[in-house]
């Protein structure tokens, strides 16, 4: 099928990029086989998760050019759907995760239709508003455990449990998210070459011209938003069974939404590798900063201070992200 051929087609990248990507991919594949600390493993799992979050965001935020700062609400929907399904009706992950994705996509259509009548900062603030509304709702909704959240007790199940995705060792989680990561990456590669991908780029270039070429701008944006939502929701479901303890404050907070947007923005919004590069820099940085600085007495918040500074520096001096720097350097060499 042409779609699969496109997904595997990385030929428009220079050879060195492809070699590097292959090397990194092999490294990630073999990673758990090295002897390493639980901390390093956990960080890598986080890296893969946030790469996926970033990739999803990148569809609407990067290619689509509409900065969405409310993605965390879908993490919540995915996570809570999976958890509630498991706790109440013992529904396995592979069923509850798609259900969560459908609920998320449904919600994204409902708010997407009015949301995309807005642009720029008005849009961004509106996404924050909707995300916070949902979070507030979850914080008082007894069905989902309100502010205390929900917890999965692993000892109730026979580990390793592949249908419910309950494991004792992280290595299993690693490979599950790695498979998701690979599928996600191939999907994004297909996406950027697809009709919708081209339409988005045209819209970002000049909306009026895009319309004159038969593109239904509003609908294209809504579709893309739904795709971003699906990505985020799936990882949210994974998050629930991995962390086994969810509450609105850490699954649906504004800070999480910003973090997601940051992945792509730091790495290079609107590029294929951007979110992965961004996650590759930010997640280890975040983890290790927290380890060394956060817990140290009296230095609460230093990791976030450094974080804030990084965001500020990137926004002010290299808004096209790290990949943008690479592209700029290449263009200069071409001339």
């Amino acid at each position: 099928m042409e779609a699969i051929k496109n997904a595997l087609d990385f030929s428009d990248f220079p050879k060195i990029d492809r070699m590097l990507a292959l090397a990194v991919f092999s490294f990630l594949l073999a990673f758990p086989l090295f002897p390493l600390s639980a901390f390093a493993m956990a960080t890598m799992i986080q890296f893969l998760m946030f790469s996926l979050y970033g990739m999803g965001w990148n569809t609407i935020g990067g290619y689509g050019g509409q900065v969405d700062l409310g993605k965390a609400q879908y993490v919540g929907i995915g996570a809570y759907t999976t958890t509630v399904c498991l706790l109440r009706w013992d529904i396995p992950f592979w069923v509850s995760m798609p259900i969560g994705a459908c609920l998320s996509i449904g919600w994204s259509f409902i708010i997407g239709y009015p949301l995309f009548k807005l642009k720029g900062h008005y849009f961004a603030i509106a996404t924050i508003a909707t995300s916070l509304v949902l979070k507030d709702l979850f914080e008082v909704w007894k069905f989902v455990g309100a502010a205390r959240g929900l917890g999965i007790l692993p000892f109730k199940y026979q580990v390793p449990d592949f249908t419910r995705l309950i494991f004792k060792e992280d290595i299993y989680y690693y490979y599950v998210i790695f498979v998701f990561f690979s599928i996600g990456l191939l999907y994004m590669n297909w996406f950027r070459q697809s009709r919708l991908g081209f339409q988005l780029r045209a819209i970002k270039d000049n909306e009026e011209v895009a319309r004159s070429l038969g593109i239904n701008v509003h609908w294209a944006k809504i579709k893309t938003y739904a795709i971003a939502t699906a990505f985020v929701s799936v990882v949210g479901s994974f998050h629930a069974v991995y962390v086994k303890n969810i509450e609105p404050e850490d699954t649906m907070s504004l800070d999480l939404s910003i973090l997601i947007a940051l992945m792509a923005m730091l790495g290079g919004a609107g590029s294929l590798w951007g979110p992965i590069i961004g996650a590759g820099v930010l997640i280890p940085l975040k983890s290790y900063l927290k380890e060394w600085l956060g817990a140290a007495a009296g230095l609460v918040g230093i990791d976030l201070i450094i974080y804030g500074l990084i965001i500020m520096i990137i926004s002010a001096f290299e808004p096209r992200g790290l990949w943008g720097i690479v592209e700029k350097a290449r263009r200069r060499r071409r001339i």
Binding site: F198, R201, A202, K204, N206, E208, S212
Partner: protein, 246 residues
């Protein structure tokens, strides 16, 4: 039945009537010119017809269907394509990709879109520039790219908005040939706004003249050129008076 019929079109921006009671028809297969002094309302007329904004009053009928209320993308899907006078591109898509966007209107397949786009670029002599960014090209090439992109949507009616602006004489020749090709070989109905008289008068089968939002003349190019109303509009009342005095 004409391909495009415009009935009593009025477009007002606040108190200013950019188009005032304009009516005309474009027959299938025609090459129609639209001229008039600056500010006469030509681009506004195009914008209304193309669906960019709705007219204040009046009716637009395209291929027998009342399209007055439709937006740009719906008009494009019905076979009306247009170029833009000032095209500010973000610089992300190269020439080939730009044209592919137009092709995607009729296909979902990337390879089909690419093949067709390359064909169109070949047709308009842009094959060598296909990987360049649009905003890095010289003006003449940019104009041809906008035409190629519009053509990619397989239109029945093509509206060209000042495609010869800023071109030197030999470039004007090239673009004239391009328009003739689109019209005769591809069989597309063309309506063009132009200030470059040697182009529009030579190429058009029929010409419409706007002044201050109203249609003041319509007919064969040579007749319109001699019409005193038209001369007055371009050269001013005083010129006409002085010429009469001679």
């Amino acid at each position: 039945m004409a391909l495009l019929e415009v009935h009593n079109l009025v477009k007002a921006f606040g108190g200013l009537k950019a188009n005032d009671d304009v009516s005309f028809a474009v027959e299938t297969g025609e090459l129609l010119g639209l001229i008039g002094p600056n500010g006469a309302g030509k681009t506004t007329l195009f914008n209304c017809v193309a669906g960019m904004f709705p007219p204040t009053s009046g009716r637009i009928v395209f291929a027998g269907e009342d399209v007055t209320a439709l937006g740009s993308h719906e008009m494009a899907r019905r076979g009306l394509a247009r170029t833009f006078q000032v095209y500010v591109a973000g610089g992300d898509l190269n020439v080939l990709e730009n044209v592919m966007v137009g092709c995607f209107m009729h296909t979902r397949s990337q390879s089909q879109a690419r093949t067709r786009a390359e064909g169109i670029l070949e047709d308009l002599g842009l094959r060598d520039l296909k990987l360049n960014l649009v905003n890095e090209l010289p003006v003449a090439a940019q104009k041809r790219v906008t035409m190629a992109t519009a053509l990619a949507t397989s239109p029945r009616l093509l509206l060209l908005d000042e495609v010869a602006a800023g071109l030197n004489p030999s470039e004007i020749e090239d673009i004239m040939a391009g328009i003739r090709h689109i019209h005769s070989e591809l069989g597309i109905t063309v309506m063009l706004i132009e200030h470059v008289m040697e182009l529009v008068m030579n190429i058009s089968e029929r010409v419409i003249v706007l002044d201050y939002g109203r249609k003041i003349a319509e007919g064969l190019p040579q007749n319109v050129a001699r019409d005193p109303q038209v001369i007055k509009a371009y050269l001013g009342e005083r010129y006409v008076r002085e010429r009469k005095a001679l």
